[in-house]
């Protein structure tokens, strides 16, 4: 896969338009989702994704592979989004986490499980629940997360970025980033648990 990606990037450097169509198809959905999480406006988010692609094409010769390609384009996008928000005077602290995960409510006074978590059997990407795959359900759950949680979850799950790099890009403390990630994962887990319990 790595070799395929390197070949694709080589073709991009040679201004191969078909190679651009391929990387656009692979990464645009994640870029738009991340962009929406930060600027919270569809039209601005789409503009930023387009600007990101322009920068990627112009700067591809400077990409040396020290980070993954995806981490590189995520970094370009987040820098652009924060610059745009600052320019529009809309840059606000990116740390509102949404409600608490509710995890602590699952324990009794001695810290033991009040109700034992279910064993998840046959929880695979291909499994169909309520007429659609688990992956489609997970994508729908992610889209419902508060924006800051969604951005951190995408960057941690997909961006191949180190926690410190994500904190610097989003201007978050390490503690806040971990709270956002914890809440996002718990929300996805809880929603899946409810979905699977209804079907068992």
């Amino acid at each position: 896969v790595l070799e395929e990606q390197e070949a694709l990037i080589d073709r991009l450097r040679k201004q191969d338009e078909q190679a651009f169509a391929e990387v656009y198809k692979i990464y645009s959905s994640s870029l738009l989702r991340l962009s929406m999480s930060i600027v919270r406006n569809k039209s601005t988010a789409e503009d930023l994704v387009q600007e990101t692609w322009v920068s990627v094409l112009r700067s591809i010769d400077r990409f040396e592979g020290r980070s993954s390609f995806r981490a590189w384009i995520f970094t370009i996008l987040v820098n652009k989004a924060r610059t745009r928000l600052r320019r529009d005077n809309r840059l606000v602290a990116f740390d509102e986490g949404g409600p608490d995960s509710g995890l602590d409510a699952g324990f009794d006074g001695r810290g033991k499980w009040a109700q034992m978590p279910a064993l998840w059997d046959n929880v695979t990407a291909e499994r169909i629940v309520e007429g659609r795959s688990l992956l489609a359900h997970v994508n729908a759950i992610i889209d419902e997360l508060p924006p800051a949680q969604r951005a951190v979850l995408i960057m941690r799950s997909q961006g191949d970025l180190e926690p410190g790099e994500i904190c610097a890009l989003l201007d978050l403390s390490d503690g806040n980033m971990r709270v956002l990630l914890h809440r996002a994962r718990q929300s996805v887990r809880l929603a899946l648990d409810q979905l699977l319990a209804e079907k068992s």
Binding site: K25, Y27, S29, P117
Partner: protein
């Protein structure tokens, strides 16, 4: 001795391989003896895997030729107004990261 609540709070760090060694050993010992926590960590592991797979699986529909053409055109003409905006927002070299 860690409680089940303590273990659940550390599940993210355990799966991200970010727990200090002594805490990791304590959590592993607890997991060997506690079916509830083992099930919970199993749920968290599956959640992480499915999240990554779901995000990877969601590719964009093929772009309209005019969309790709517009981006390619802007990239080739650094003097255009939109393109200038792109460069201005490149606050730092995105590849200048302490990796590798």
């Amino acid at each position: 001795m860690l409680s089940c609540r303590d273990v659940a709070r550390r599940a993210d760090a355990l799966l991200d391989a970010e727990l200090p060694m002594w805490e990791r050993i304590q959590v592993r010992l607890h997991l060997m003896m506690c079916r509830g926590c083992a099930a919970f960590v199993g749920q968290m592991r599956a959640t992480r895997r499915l999240t990554a797979q779901a995000l990877d699986a969601q590719s964009a529909p093929p772009a309209q030729p005019e969309t790709l053409g517009r981006i390619l055109e802007l990239a080739r003409h650094p003097d255009s107004e939109d393109a200038a905006g792109c460069d201005a927002s490149m606050g730092r070299d995105p590849d200048a990261k302490p990796k590798d």
